[in-house]
Symmetry: C2
Subunit: 144 residues, 2 copies
């Protein structure tokens, strides 16, 4: 039957192991698994940590700017921020500017040592080459 012939041809030259999306998803899950272990005691997620980290360094950002910096869709960002507001780690008091609170800053201080441990464990896993490779990738996906 013609269709099965076509199917056979296609699938023989089909190499899904090369899928970039599949690779990046796996990479993301594995790295997230490492960081999650270290963040667990703080009741915070990796994504929330990223936002707190940004807001630790900048206190003049609105949601639009944050969403670009975090590469997060505006609605995803909005909900993530609301969870941090609920936890009193950030505030919308200076709306539309988002600010980290004292409590948030203190939490970041507490997290940093564990974050360093997660970074060390991950650096060991990735080696020098892997770390450099990640920076190459970030340069590529970040260039406008």
């Amino acid at each position: 039957m013609y269709l099965s012939v076509v199917n056979t041809i296609d699938l023989n030259t089909f190499h899904p192991q090369q899928c970039i999306s599949g690779k990046v998803m796996r990479l993301n899950r594995k790295i997230a698994n490492i960081f999650r272990q270290y963040l667990r005691p703080f009741g915070i997620t990796d994504s929330q940590m990223s936002l707190l980290f940004i807001l630790t360094k900048r206190d003049d950002l609105n949601q639009k700017q944050l969403s670009e910096m975090a590469a997060l869709e505006k609605s995803s960002l909005n909900r993530n921020l609301n969870r941090l507001v609920d936890a009193r780690l950030i505030t919308k008091e200076h709306f539309p500017t988002i600010r980290i609170t004292k409590k948030g800053l203190q939490l970041v201080q507490q997290i940093i040592p564990e974050w360093n441990k997660a970074m060390d464990e991950t650096r060991e896993l990735l080696d020098k080459e892997g770390m450099a490779a990640l920076d190459v990738l970030m340069t590529k996906v970040s260039q406008k």
Copy 2:
């Protein structure tokens, strides 16, 4: 006050832009955004596609094996599979073995050309160096 001195010291030597987790999350979102565009017409997600791709090549896998291959927690895998079962793209008829259905195979056939377009667009974004970098990273995170 002593605490604020400590805070100042910590935060000045704190470089969250180096966070590996943050980088990988951003990378993941950006790559996923590309693939999602091409997959939209098929009503399928990147994660579902990955599973269908595996099952296109292998018809002897149980959930445990699939979860390891996909780097997915067993409960996450279970639910993703159930969505594919609901869509009649895979079947649990040969439980515990998971098999792709004829409908699933046909969908993969249809997806391949669009997947190739997504791969091309992503290859262009990442360049030769980015592609090689991704493979370096996958080697690192995959070694037992």
